[in-house]
């Protein structure tokens, strides 16, 4: 097909509930962009200018429709006073925690909600945001999810066992983290204007590989609802929500979130490959955009034809969503994926994703 729209026009159309020329593609690329530009992956997370440039060039080279963003799963430890490492060594692919700021319940009492202006990675994230703003792209800020962040502040095994042994400590910590997320949203929206911002939230520790749906209801839902409600209240209209890995048992709560928030704003759902598109369409289809969830490891293991076939299947199922669909990956695209497999997504979108 001949493309009639620019990436910005294409994404804009989907967000407005209109049909673009073809399905947009967001391959959830972070570390891969650094590889493409022959940069160490660490630069993507440690240097705003290099991060922005690598993401823009990678998108331009392939012609996909995502704009740069800044975020990672180990977020929170640094911001609350701990220490993280940047992925500069061979084999490393994302930031990792060196020291968790919370080790005891007393540490939670003493923990101060940081001022976002100089908290950990926020100046870098702000740097990427400024470049996006100057280039008329949406500014994406990270504001969740609560349990993934508390697991980084206090260490995953510690927070998970406290959920049973010391639930009151977990609630105390989650209150502080929720307050911090709202402060971050406030900082970004007051700097750039809420209409220019997009919230990014989600995380793997909420996955049902780790916790059950009742634990999600008790320790995640109330804080998630509070943060989302306040962020939408500030005027942010688009939320990129990534319930990472298998969260099928948490689906009723994500549905409840949207219902209780009156389906305000536009959500873009990026579930893991474990959640069938049909199920997502059934729950969110009348209001929200679904970003297709092709299995991430497949991009590293499978060959070009197989990836085209996986994307074709995803497009044929996802395009049925009445409120819009984006071809995407169910989590970050593996940075070691063969470069041709990103082109496979583009080819599938052009050949099988035309609305014309």
């Amino acid at each position: 097909m001949r493309e009639r729209m620019t990436p910005m026009e294409r994404m804009g159309a989907v967000l407005m509930g209109q049909k673009p020329d073809r399905v947009p593609v967001n391959p959830f690329i972070l570390g891969f962009a650094a590889k493409v530009c022959n940069l160490p992956i660490g630069d993507l997370y440690a240097d705003a200018k290099k991060s922005f440039r690598a993401q823009v060039l990678c998108a331009e080279m392939y012609g996909y429709d995502a704009t740069p963003m800044y975020g990672y799963a180990s977020y929170g430890a640094w911001e609350f006073g701990g220490k993280i490492g940047m992925p500069y060594e061979a084999g490393q692919s994302a930031p990792y925690v060196i020291k968790h700021p919370v080790e005891t319940p007393e540490d939670v009492d003493k923990l101060e909600v940081p001022d976002p202006k100089n908290a950990g990675s926020i100046p870098i994230s702000m740097g990427v945001g400024k470049l996006c703003y100057e280039n008329r792209m949406p500014v994406i800020f990270q504001c969740g999810e609560i349990l993934t962040t508390s697991a980084m502040v206090a260490e995953p095994a510690r927070i998970l066992s406290w959920m049973i042994r010391k639930p009151e400590v977990v609630h105390k910590l989650h209150k502080k983290i929720a307050e911090y997320f709202v402060a971050v949203a406030d900082y970004f929206t007051s700097t750039f204007g809420a209409d220019k911002c997009m919230a990014f939230t989600g995380g793997p520790v909420e996955s049902n590989k780790l916790i059950n749906p009742n634990q999600f209801a008790t320790f995640v839902y109330p804080y998630m609802k509070e943060v989302h409600s306040k962020v939408l209240g500030m005027g942010v209209n688009v939320v990129l929500e990534h319930p990472c890995s298998d969260q099928n048992k948490n689906l009723p709560y994500y549905k409840m979130l949207r219902e209780e928030l009156g389906w305000r704003g536009k959500y873009i759902w990026v579930f893991g490959p474990e959640t069938p598109l049909e199920k997502q369409i059934e729950i969110f289809g009348n209001h929200d955009i679904i970003m297709g969830n092709v299995d991430p490891p497949s991009f590293q293991f499978k060959d070009f034809e197989e990836i085209v076939a996986l994307c074709k299947d995803n497009i044929e199922r996802g395009i049925k969503n009445p409120s819009g669909y984006i071809l995407g990956v169910g989590c970050e695209l593996p940075p070691l994926a063969p470069p041709i497999n990103v082109y496979a997504m583009m080819k599938a979108a052009r050949e099988y994703g035309s609305y014309q």
Binding site: S93, L210, I211
Partner: protein, 214 residues
Amino acid sequence: MEKAEILKGLADATVAGDVEKATNLAKEAIRAGIDAYEAIMNGCAAGMNVVSEKYEKGDMYVPEILCSAEAMYSALEILRPHLKASKVEVPKKVVLGVVRGDIHDIGKNLVKLMLDAAGFKVIDLGRDVPNEQFVEVALKENAEIVGLSALMTTSMVNMPLIIKDLKTKSPKTVAMVGGGPISPELAKNYGADGYAKDAAEAVKVAKSLVGGGA
């Protein structure tokens, strides 16, 4: 209290993550003259097998498992000093860790838990472990097994490098691998001697490779 009742109680307390009950029953087992090895195997380890099965079926989740681990270790602390030297072989040693570039250690910790319960001596190197450290420690400790865990396609590529180094420097040590992106075929390609899909299977595979824990 009958012997069977004490052993079942220990298993149940492990499953329920009841530290107090597990500690009391371990003491009770010693008082009643129950062999410590039997109390560990038919009490604590039996309980951990139930935990592992429940996790795989989705009937139990990680927070509860961490409490079970706490209960099990509290009982082991009491029982282990009473193990009769004649009854047990020298425990087989496993050097275990998550490979370089990978900090996903929850699964590895479950594998450690099950190996501990089965009587192996686990030397836990933690997460994001430099490649050369596995072989260095295996040589120093004269370990029978090196266990490698990887959750990401980006980090798993370290496995064949470690295994190659191990086979050159310590050919008698066997390599066992596991974690999300690993399959039996991949494990074979990497030169591993064993692969396990979950923590319970890791115990079976370790036993089949080196002939038993305690």
